[in-house]
Symmetry: C2
Subunit: 442 residues, 2 copies
Amino acid sequence: MARTLGPGQRLPSIRAFAAAMRVSPATVVEAYDRLAAEGVIRARRGSGFYVADTALPPLALAAGEPRRPRAVDPFWVSRQSLDADAATLTPGCGWLPADWMPQDALRRAVRALARSDGAVLTDYSAARGSAALRRVLQARLASLGIDTSSEQILLTSSGTQAIDLICRMLLRPGDAVLVDDPCYFNFLALLRAHQARIVGVPMTPAGPDIARFEAVLAAERPRLYITNSGLHNPTGATLSLQTAHRLLNAAAAHDMIVIEDDIYGDFEPEPSPRLAALDGLARVILIGSFSKTLSASVRSGYIAAQPDWIEPLIDLQIATGFGGPGQFAAETLAQVLTGGSYRKHIEELRSRLARARPRVAARLQRLGITPWLMPRGGFHLWCRLPEGCTAIEVARSAMEHDVVLAPGDVFSAAQSAAAMMRFNVAHCDDQRVMAALERALK
Amino acid sequence: MARTLGPGQRLPSIRAFAAAMRVSPATVVEAYDRLAAEGVIRARRGSGFYVADTALPPLALAAGEPRRPRAVDPFWVSRQSLDADAATLTPGCGWLPADWMPQDALRRAVRALARSDGAVLTDYSAARGSAALRRVLQARLASLGIDTSSEQILLTSSGTQAIDLICRMLLRPGDAVLVDDPCYFNFLALLRAHQARIVGVPMTPAGPDIARFEAVLAAERPRLYITNSGLHNPTGATLSLQTAHRLLNAAAAHDMIVIEDDIYGDFEPEPSPRLAALDGLARVILIGSFSKTLSASVRSGYIAAQPDWIEPLIDLQIATGFGGPGQFAAETLAQVLTGGSYRKHIEELRSRLARARPRVAARLQRLGITPWLMPRGGFHLWCRLPEGCTAIEVARSAMEHDVVLAPGDVFSAAQSAAAMMRFNVAHCDDQRVMAALERALK
């Protein structure tokens, strides 16, 4: 038997190889199958195994891929953050470090998943998604004063997909959609994908500038308004009860629908008014996910809305994805959320962030970078750079030192935030962040 | 301490209750947290726990929900199948029973997941999705003669979502899209969601009627053609090499793009020609998933396409879903696929189905139901009902006896399959299926 086989050559038969190596045929089968799965050899049915004709090109690591010179836009921030390698620092990203997440609770939930009924591991979900997770969400919404039935909750693959699905139901190209200025940058990317006409209203620390909001509704007749409740991304602002009330009255007067994204709600020290609670899910659609507090790897989001909207959303989700998250993901989330440790985890996150925010703000202040406000909770600081600095230039310069920043204008429909920058305090403790910033500011 | 607390009443403090019950405070905390997660009590921060003001309405079971009288369309089949309770039989569904799936391998993979690096359980994926799963896919595609680089593979949340993403990139409302007649019914639902103009070409046992195909391309200039390779759904037809060649020449002549859905490929006894292999991924985009052979609960699909298309697809997936499947799902699939047992599982599935197809066909024949062809593999039988029977009426009647059928016209853009029915042989062994059919045919 030759020791080296070239491309296209047949491998020894399982029986012959097992005899020669003095191992069981089952061991050889497993070894051959693994090599086949890796592409080193190929199985030809009824004929045996052959060395692959062409060695597969190595899978390029994201880190090794050339960074294309592209515009510093919402996708730039998302992709630099998602594809960051271990050496890259990401104070511009929108999530917490892995070791801030409830890893032990997740491991327990995954072990429980391994013991669950076989159908949980293999079957499609019901059309609305896992009943267990919807029950948890129903209780959670009730604690915020939002009464729903199981009929009114639809699980989705992610929080973003929840918004996308609603936009697909409601929008036609050219429709005006209102957003806060600044707002979460991916809202802008999403609305551009829908060919919406994006209209911004300036944010204040108590919510959107309500006089401007009312004027824009009268002038532009937007179909939809998308906002964060609880803690606003990127500013950390909190909607006041009075602004919420006027906002909903204006929406009713102009027949505008509101998507309230509750993704940062758990970071609040005390719950602030939810539009969905005030409105009773009449024209407000609440969406959310657990990507920021529990796991962004176990993907799932949700929609809570009036039943008349849930029905077409279910059909639309079947047509475009054949359902939302699998039971695999949804049952894992339900397990963690009912496991009793989630509330403690959230309280620890809040305390840890309450210490990090002033600490990082003080460091930024030393570089002349000033928070727009000190948020009640969460991990974002929306900051003004020193006079004369342009955030996009600073971000480009920091990227050369492997630091991903989130420059203000990617959050602004009107491009009115050239001097602003969003910082994630949970990713700012590494000395190299402030060093790269200091260098980039010069 | 009163034994019964009414709505709104405060529960005993953790310390007092622990002392009274002679358990540790930690035990009480956990009990309270579980009750809060279930919605029975509510936590008010800094104030304690209270009995929930309103008992939550019980989560309606899908089975108990009223079945709305709605049109027997693609959504009817999908939703009746997805929301079927344990007492309902689903010979019309498009997947295998849970106990036909590789549950042991899945459990092993889930246990491995519980031991994996914390970031796998918590972090977002790279923009293209898990490198491990893309490596497996690269090897798999190479074995079908499709050479790709890692740059050319994008993971998606499902096979359907893969097609949806491509349609979003390529289609404008009113664009003509070509499908086989019959075709997988959800293609029709998806294309309607895109407001495409759907054009059908009749299927033959060797692929689409190629003369008609060429004529329709010249007349309608479709932007896109969506088809299944390997085993066609619902007919079980296999594209011949000659048809594939002519089809691609016609596509090139009229600058039409092809989506090849390889979801049933693993069920083939011998691989048949893949359009993507002939074409070298120039104008063919290959998509697939493991929902039919491995798990529909661990959701993931993929796209293999030329690099120029992958880049905008990545951005589009970020904008509309903030990425595809989490590492949680993708690493589990990669684990099963490289675990060595997958090939054996597939061979067992093929043998089991090779026995089931003629057995079920014979039973159907006894009722006067005739397969259009006997497929080389897979679990679908596309059949003609006895003279005078209308499939939609038969399906409505069978539904009254808790049997979900898939009537022909839901698969037909031209509504030309009123006398046809698709059967899933893996769900036809229950006596009640043939009994309900016999009753419904009368």
